[in-house]
Each structure stands twice: as C-alpha cells, then as structure tokens.
C-alpha cells in the first residue's frame, strides 16, 4: 500500500456554514496526526470555500482540499460522493473521518462501496497503533452492551463516522495558516437523479440537549408523564435541559426530542443527573462522556451506578424535589 500519509476530515457544510462536528473531528484528528506523523487535512466540497478556510485552519487543518461547484452548495449524495471518491482515488489518504450526521451517514457508506474502503460507524474512541500503522476504531455494539475495537488492516482508506459531542473541540489559535489545494471535479456527467426542493427547520421547543451544561434525565422510575414535572423543576432551577430514557419515550411520557442514548442523542454536559434510569447500556452509550454523572435510583444494584460519580440510593420522588429545594435555597 503506498498512500499519502494524510488524515482527512470531511468538512460538512451547507450554504457556507460548517457543521459543528467538523471542529470536533479536527480536534481529535490532531491527536491522531501527532501520534501517526500524518498530515491533517480538510476536504471541503462547497460553492464558495474561502470564508470557511480560516476556521478550518484554526482547528488544526494543515491543508484544505477546496472543491467548488454551485451544485455543492447544499448536500446531494451523488455529487458529494463523486467528489470524495475522486479525491480519494487521486490522493490516497490513509484515514477519512466523517461526522455521524444525516449527511455523514449517507455519504460515508456510499464512498466506502465506491472504492473498497473499510468503514466503522459511530466511533466513540479513535486511536492509532503506531506499530501496525492502523487506526483503532472503538464503538458500542449490541445496543451498547459491548464495546468493539474495529480495524481495517488491508484496505485504504480507513474510514470512520463519529457522532457529535463525543470529542471536545479545541482551537489551535485564531490566525493559523495552511495550504489550500483547489481541485475541480467534473460533475457535469452526473445525471440529477434526486433533487432537494425544500429544507425545513423545525423549532423544537426549547430542548437543546447538545448545548446544555446540566441535564436532568428521567427513566421508567419516574412512573408516568405527570411526574416529569419533578424532573423539569430540577432542570429549570439548574438552568439545564430535560433528558429521557428510551423506555419513557416509547411509553409516550415525553417527546422523542428528549431521548438520550444510542438511538437518541449523544450528550456531553458538565453534570448529568439520571433519575430512575436503570442504565441499559444503550442509554449509557449516549451520556457516559458527561464530565460528572449523578444517579438517583431505588435499586442499589442498578447498572447506572457503574458509571456514576455520585449515586443516591432512594426514591427519586423524594430526592429530586429535595434537590430542587436545596439548590433554590442556595441561589436565594
């Protein structure tokens, strides 16, 4: 295998705005670049790249493959896959990372089968084995019941998708520089098999789990939809957001926008308070990278206590209102 010793981050953008995950991937990519000695690069299919370059450099990209075409302003799978595949064929990178967004999870598997690349979905940890020169890609499987480290020994590039909020973003500086490589990929021969005719942004009440510093989550132990008020009250007094386990969402107690876990959102708050959540690992997969985890549960053997920093064994219906009261008193 003679490849170029580059690590690529797919710089997902729409209408000139980069997705937040790109910066998380670049931040993590820097660590991999340092360990491997490879060059960290961003691949930017877009209509007008220049306004986005500085930010990509600031997060550690040393080189940007800038591919401009009016057809690339918003995402279309056929066009973007063609661009990334063409670049991979000519530049032969070692590693390509994508955000596990709607876009990344459509694009990456397409690109993987266009060549013969290995692809690992939803990694929660990436590392580089310097001896074998391969990427170690760790991810939960079987609903998060086990962790598996996946490798791709004989095919290149090694590709992975990573969910948002798994890695922390960190800039290198605010005036970093690097190389811009302008590349043209001819898209004129691709028939337009699908066309986006509208894009709707929904105002999903005020649940912003991904940005919250504090999250108070309720599970089956909450007992019913009306009791979520206790969870909400604690979240309010902390200035945080309300999360929920899959069981409560499936039971219709709260909307799926609140769901934390492998099939819901991945969150990374300063404090995560799990109330009446037993800790099915599919839930843990969505919150265990929180800085500090507090678990409230009646059952002292509940698996949620395995990942908690603080565990309160008792009835959440007494503990949560008490917690709210004492925080209120503290703030008064």
């Amino acid at each position: 295998m003679s490849t170029k010793k580059e690590i690529w981050v797919y710089a997902e953008q729409e209408n000139g705005k980069l997705a937040g995950t790109v910066f998380e991937l670049l931040s993590e990519g820097r660590k991999l670049a340092k360990k491997s000695g490879f060059t960290l690069c961003a691949v930017l299919p877009c209509a007008d790249g220049k306004p986005m370059h500085q930010e990509l450099f600031n997060y550690g990209a040393k080189k940007i493959y800038n591919v401009e075409d009016p057809k690339l302003d918003t995402y279309q799978n056929d066009y973007c896959a063609k661009v990334v595949h063409t670049l991979i064929e000519s530049e032969e990178p070692e590693i390509v990372l994508y955000g596990a967004s709607t876009i990344g999870r459509s694009l990456a598997p397409t690109v993987a089968v266009m060549g013969w690349a290995g692809l690992t979905a939803d990694c929660t940890e990436l590392d580089f084995d310097t001896e074998r020169e391969i990427l170690l890609q760790t991810r939960p499987a079987f609903g998060g019941n086990i962790m598996a480290t996946i490798i791709c020994p004989d095919h290149r590039p090694q590709m992975a998708t990573v969910r948002s909020n798994v890695f922390k973003k960190e800039t290198v500086g605010d005036a970093e520089t690097g190389e811009v490589v302008d590349v043209t990929v001819d898209l004129s021969g691709i028939r337009e098999r699908m066309k986006r005719i509208d894009s709707v942004v929904e105002e999903v009440n005020t649940v912003d789990l991904k940005a919250a510093d504090f999250i108070v989550s309720g599970g089956r132990g909450v007992g019913g939809p009306e009791n979520f008020d206790k969870i909400k009250a604690l979240a309010n007094v902390l200035g945080g957001a309300v999360g929920a386990s899959r069981a409560t969402v499936d039971a219709g107690w709260i909307s799926h926008h609140h769901q934390v876990g492998q099939t819901g959102k991945t969150v990374c708050p300063l404090i995560y308070i799990a109330c009446g959540i037993s800790g099915a690992i599919q839930h843990l997969a969505g919150m265990q990278s929180a800085d500090l985890i507090i678990a409230v549960n009646k059952d002292a053997d509940a698996p949620i206590f395995d990942v908690a920093d603080f565990g309160l064994v008792g009835d959440l219906h007494e503990i949560v209102p008490e917690f709210t009261k004492q925080i209120q008193a503290l703030k008064a």
Binding site: P140, I150, I151, F305, D306, A308
Partner: protein, 261 residues
C-alpha cells in the same frame, strides 16, 4: 408497483447482557426479532401497496433461522419472501453484505420500483447497508425518510435532519432508509399468519448469486473486529444512602467542593 423491503433478524438487544468475567454476550434465551426499524420500512411498503397496488417482497440475508423473520413479514402482509443464506456469506461486514444483497436484488425478475430499509439495525447500529446496496444496485438513495408519496417521476420524500427535515424528489427506482416516526405498525392478520406458516420461502445461496469470491464473507470484508470488551466501570464513585434531605445536603456539599455548582 414492486417494492422490496430488506429486513434483518436481530437479537432483542434490550435483553442481551454481558458477562463481565469473560467479556462475552449472554445470548442464550434471548429472543430474535425483526429489526424494529425494518418493521417501519415494511409498514411503509404495505401502506404504499394499499394505496397504489403492486407487490411487496421481503428479502433477508442471514442464517437459516432468519426464515422466521421472513414468515413474520408475510403474516403482516408481504406477498413474497426470499432468504439469502450460505455458509460462504458468513462473517460479512457491511461492505460484503451490501454487495451480496445487491446480487440478490439483481436476480429478482420483476423490475423493482422501490427498495426500502430500516434506518439502521439495532445490533450493529451501522446504518451502512442501505446506502451500500443502493450504490451496488445502481439506484439513487435517501436516508432517514419519514414519509414517501408517489409522484409521476418517482417519489417525493421527507428526510429527517438534525434540525428539521428536507423534502426531496427522487426518480424511480430508488432506495430509501426509513425512520421509526414514519408510521404506526399494523397487527398481523390471522388468515395471513396461517398462510405464512405454510409459505415456501426460497433460499438463494452461493450458486444462485454467482458472486465474485473475494467480495463475499470474511474475505470481502475490509473491517475486522480487533477486540471486544465490556464498557468501562467508574471506580472512584461515592454511593450515598439514608434520608433524602441529608443525602442531598451531602451531595451539594461535595459538588461545591469540586466547584461544579
């Protein structure tokens, strides 16, 4: 309209546990189910058939017992079922699985208008086979679809995004992966359930699909499992119990000590 729904039989992951001593999954006695997202894909197909007529075929790749999942799909209203199964296909990752399924689709005689998948399977959670099959089979693909209506040129679909949804027009034949909020599932029909027990389900193996050897099974799979382990446990934890007011007081004291609140 001919619709093919690709389904996967999976262990009910809520009931799978791990043995922390051996790092192995305790799978004994865990029931097998149709991957829940695939049920929504099947329901979407059945609703389109109810409205526009046509035929729904279910296709599954797996060991011989995956036939059970196909029978369940027949009892819900699918017209035909095909099992793709061969020891030589074993150990396939998403790349090799996508390739093998695409060969099965090419072997289906009636021209296909629509191929549906669940958005991901709950055992592997990769969401990669739908897009992979679409490319190998040569049709355009949209992921995370919550609604699909038939229009002259093909289909008009809504795709769930991180902030709302996109509306696409996609020509036929097309491939879509379907999310849970797409629909409510129907119950099995008693008459169909009885018929499904007797239905003859063809099995297509290596000789039927005539694949390139290096693209199937383990040899066709770029990714390998290097290591499997139990999720880590936190060691420095503090467990409090007793009177709620006292516990909370102690907790708040410790949180303030750590300067997190």
């Amino acid at each position: 309209m001919n619709i093919v729904v690709c389904i996967k039989q999976v262990p009910d992951s809520d009931k799978v546990t791990i043995d922390r001593e051996t790092n192995r999954l305790n799978r004994a006695g865990v029931p097998s189910i149709i991957n829940p997202f695939d049920e929504n894909a099947l329901e979407m197909a059945l609703q389109l058939k109810d409205k526009h007529g046509g035929k729904v075929t279910v296709l599954s790749m797996g060991p011989p017992q995956a036939e059970e999942a196909l029978r369940t799909a027949l009892s819900l209203g699918a017209d035909e079922a095909i099992l793709v199964s061969d020891r030589k296909f074993g150990g396939a990752d998403t790349w090799a699985t996508s390739y093998t399924l695409s060969l099965a689709l090419k072997k289906i005689e009636d021209p296909i208008d629509l191929i549906l998948f669940g958005k991901q399977a709950i055992d592997g959670d990769t969401a990669q086979v739908g897009p992979g099959v679409a490319h190998f089979f040569g049709v355009p693909m949209i992921t995370y679809v919550k609604s699909c209506e038939v229009i002259d040129s093909g289909f008009k679909v809504q795709q769930v995004t991180d902030h709302g949804y996109n509306v696409w027009e996609i020509e036929k034949p097309a491939a879509l992966t379907v999310v849970k909020e797409a629909n409510e599932l129907r119950m099995p029909n008693l008459r169909k359930k009885l018929a499904s027990k007797k239905a003859v389900i063809p099995t297509w193996g290596y000789d039927d699909l005539n694949p390139e050897d290096e693209k199937i099974g383990l040899s066709g799979s770029p990714t390998k499992v290097n290591k499997v382990f139990a999720p880590p446990i936190k060691l420095n934890k503090e467990i409090l119990s007793g009177e709620p007011a006292e516990m909370v007081k102690e907790l708040i004291f410790k949180l303030r000590e750590k300067k997190v609140i």
